[in-house]
Symmetry: C2
Subunit: 204 residues, 2 copies
């Protein structure tokens, strides 16, 4: 049995996901972001295997064909995807892997990886959500309305997740996400794998 | 649905349960120990409703008859028990209640209160367990051996619990128990109850 966990983090934009995930990664050395596969060209400074796994269209399509992707999508003519093999290898070493993904990607992951743990981040109120979406720049009302619709669509899937974090006070929300990740490691099935020898010797 | 959680904490003696629970209670104002009912007389300084609920033998036996106890036991001629009614009232207010109990009590609680969350604390090795049991005083080998047998009997029930904490480094173990309690509050079913209005308004 794998020793690490796969976490899926989903949120409407404006919920503060990026900040929370960055704080989690800083606080917990055992969690790392999933490294996606992509067919787009590496940008200056991007490192293969760290920022992305850069592969050709042929390789990517072969991986699709082999059923290797937990989820994948084509965006502006480039493929992006999360390799099941890569995730499995990573969590087998005991590390926890975190995927930042929308509700549709999360649903795909759940189908192929039912033991994935879903975390959903909510803004503390409709007003604050609207305000955060407005603060992003000088956008037309129409653009902001569309963003609100997309955010609400995302939020309508909150019940598909295991943990819900309301990001009202950032310090509290950081403690929440850090606690959820830490607690999942303490679950019986995880600890039974990790401390098999200890438990056997203590029962003997 | 109740807003708070019921936690059951079990450990062999020598695992450091008392220290861990004290640290949890100090760190988290939302958790409190369950207040047991007892038929024994209050000792000087003990406060009714705080240390125990002190009741007569007749009242206690009536409560047994009514099926009010999640678990109860008679020790040296006095009854001790955990009232289901009391727990339900306490968690309905949103507080988390913690029960320190042995594996048999935990099994009784689980039968009547399946949503109780079980935490089991393990010592980091057989050697350390033995050492901790010896350090309690100048006991005969026979007494220590009996303690080890009781401890191992307790540990043989670890698989009945939801979370397992290995108390190797006290600071880490404190963070573990605090995280497990905090994370349980973030579970979907808990947050759906607590943030019902928020979630409805965000989806609308």
């Amino acid at each position: 049995m794998a020793k690490g966990n796969l976490f899926v983090v989903t949120a409407p934009s404006g919920a503060g996901k990026t900040t929370l995930v960055a704080a989690l990664l800083a606080a917990d050395q055992n969690v790392q972001l999933s490294v996606s596969f992509t067919t787009r060209a590496a940008r200056p400074g991007e490192v293969d295997g760290k920022d992305y796994h850069f592969v050709s269209r042929e390789v990517f399509e072969q991986m699709i064909h082999n059923g290797d992707f937990l989820e994948h999508a084509e965006v502006y003519g480039n493929y992006y995807g999360t390799s099941q093999t890569w995730i499995n290898t990573a969590i087998d070493t005991g590390r926890d892997i975190l995927l930042e993904i929308d509700w549709q990607g999360a649903a795909q992951v759940r189908r192929l990886f039912p033991e994935a743990i879903g975390l959903f981040i909510l803004p503390p109120s409709v007003e604050i959500l609207e305000q955060r979406l407005k603060n992003r720049g000088k956008d037309s009302d129409e653009v902001i309305e569309r963003r609100m619709r997309v955010a609400k669509e995302e939020i309508s899937h909150v019940e598909e997740f295991d943990y819900v974090i309301v990001n009202e006070h950032i310090d509290e929300a950081v403690r929440d996400i850090v606690s959820a990740v830490r607690a999942e490691r303490l679950k019986l099935h995880r600890q039974s794998t990790r401390h098999q020898t200890l438990i056997s010797s203590l029962k003997a």
